[in-house]
Amino acid sequence: MLLIPCPYCGPRPEIEFRCGGEAHIARPQDPAKVDDAAWGDYLFLRTNPKGVHAERWVHTHGCRRWFNALRDTLSDRILATHAVGERRPDPPR
């Protein structure tokens, strides 16, 4: 089980959270103007990297706020968490 540092509440066990998948996926400004392929990409295409992954989490059983995290998908180590809207930190090397 992961120990997830919520930017608002501090480190809490993973069962208090839900993972919201890849972060920073922008909905097309005008969905009616994009073609089917671009809309399909927005809905379904994900980076799925073996390495650093930017993802969204929600502290469901805590402050109930969404935030972003950088996590290494090979070691599952969480490298950083930050509030939505804040600039994504560079992963520590």
């Binding site: 089980m1 069962i15 839900r18 993972c19 809309w39 994900r46 799925n48 992954h53 070691s75």
Partner: protein, 417 residues
């Protein structure tokens, strides 16, 4: 190929195992092949086998980063069934089940396929409606599936606790009698041995590092950790690592990779005659021929390549198992492991062509790929050999994620999707 028979079995018993021979060669890679399969699991080895056997394409190499059958083929819970809801899924899984039924004879290798019946439990009204709908849909597709009362389910699987007092009582069950289990390692070994006998090169410890392209942009070969290998046709069957391999060709697919856990108990005498699955309280369990109870747990909620999952995921499944089968509560668990499964948005596989000419992909089997092994390999070999999708594979093409013709199989496994 050294053929196995009753005579060789008796000779082996009398004369001893020291006469055993390696069942396939371990050749160095050639500089070029007619076709290369990336991924030496059951699906990849099977693809090479059917390419050689049914399409006469024998100049084939199977490249495996680790050892054959060491990925999800050797990590799954070996459950085989074809009682899927959607017609497209029913077609491919039933195609696989029919191949399973003759596989040991075809490969001359005992894959220990045992049609002991797969029981899927209902715990509430919604489950009853959903499973009965599956039963009727399956029957319309010519697939056996029947509805059982709790008492009838207990007759099929006596350890099942059907007391109405448990937290999630069993109120009915669907039974596919032709479903069952097989020996997963033997499937990889059997396909490897049979493919090797027809000239397929099985190359282990060979990682794909990059793709060579010709001036038209088509695939021309692969850069590997054991040198460049030229091939005009390349099939990617890399399961949880498909995204990683395809990223080296600059391709992205709608896949996410999750750890899926399984565990086995200490071995006990035969106590469990069938396979039991419960989607609602999330448990699936069978007993191996060695006597271990083989238990499937769920996926973690986040993508990962760690090949291990959170302990709370396994604990959740064990709580459900102990409620359904209280007599197992004092069994010790021997091993717990994870495999990386590639999951698509509609929980159906992706089989077919890619935007790069000559590059084919067979992936996205998620939590339920083992049961499809022969069928998946068979239709994928056809796709690679002819350059056109097999009629059973056609609905599983990548373009369904832009056309919207998804094949929604959220019930693909006893895993909460």
């Amino acid at each position: 190929m050294h053929r196995f028979s009753l005579g060789t079995l008796i000779a082996g018993a009398v004369l001893g195992e020291h006469r055993a021979q390696p069942q396939w060669r371990s050749p160095p890679p050639k500089s070029a092949y007619a076709a290369v399969i990336v991924g030496g699991g059951g699906h990849g080895l099977g693809t090479a086998y059917y390419l050689a056997k049914e399409h006469g394409v024998r100049d084939v190499a199977v490249l495996e980063k680790g050892w054959i059958g060491g990925g999800n083929t050797g990590r799954n819970t070996t459950i085989i069934r074809s009682n899927y809801l959607q017609q497209e899924s029913a077609a491919i899984y039933e195609h696989a089940l029919r191949l399973w039924e003759g596989l040991a004879r075809e490969l001359n290798y005992n894959v220990m396929f045992s049609q002991r019946g797969v029981l899927m439990l209902a715990h509430n009204d919604h489950d009853v409606h959903s499973l009965k709908r599956h039963v009727y849909a399956n029957r319309l597709n010519g697939i056996d599936n029947e509805w059982l009362t709790p008492q009838e389910a207990k007759a099929i699987c006596p350890p099942l606790n059907i007391a109405p007092t448990v937290r999630y009582p069993v109120v009915g069950a669907a039974l596919q009698r032709r479903g069952g289990v097989a020996r997963h390692d033997a499937v990889a070994w059997g396909y490897a041995r049979a493919a090797d006998a027809m000239g397929v090169d099985i190359i282990e410890n060979c990682e794909v590092l990059g793709f060579m392209r010709d001036p038209r942009g088509a695939v021309a070969g692969l850069e590997t950790s054991r040198g460049p290998i030229r091939a005009a046709r390349v099939g990617i069957v890399a399961a949880g690592h498909t995204s990683v391999v395809l990223a080296r060709a600059g391709l992205k697919l709608p896949l996410e990779s999750f750890p899926l856990q399984a565990l086995v108990s200490e071995p006990v005498k035969p106590v469990f005659p069938s396979v039991v699955m419960s989607n609602t309280i999330h448990a699936y369990i069978s007993q191996s021929d060695k006597g271990e109870l083989v238990i499937g747990a769920g996926t973690d909620q986040y993508i990962s390549y760690s090949q291990q999952g959170g302990l709370h995921i396994a604990a959740h499944t064990l709580a459900a198992i102990c409620e359904l089968f209280p007599q197992f509560s004092r069994l010790r668990m021997l091993r717990n492991w994870g495999g990386i499964v590639d999951v698509t948005p509609d929980r159906s596989p992706i089989i077919g062509l890619t935007p790069i000419p000559g590059l084919y992909v067979n992936c996205g089997w998620g939590t339920g790929g083992f049961k499809a092994t022969p069928g998946s390999a068979h239709v994928f070999a056809h796709t690679i050999a002819t350059g056109e999708p097999h009629s059973i594979a056609a609905p599983f093409a990548i373009d369904r994620f832009s056309t919207g013709r998804l094949i929604d199989e959220a019930a693909a496994a006893a895993v909460a999707h």
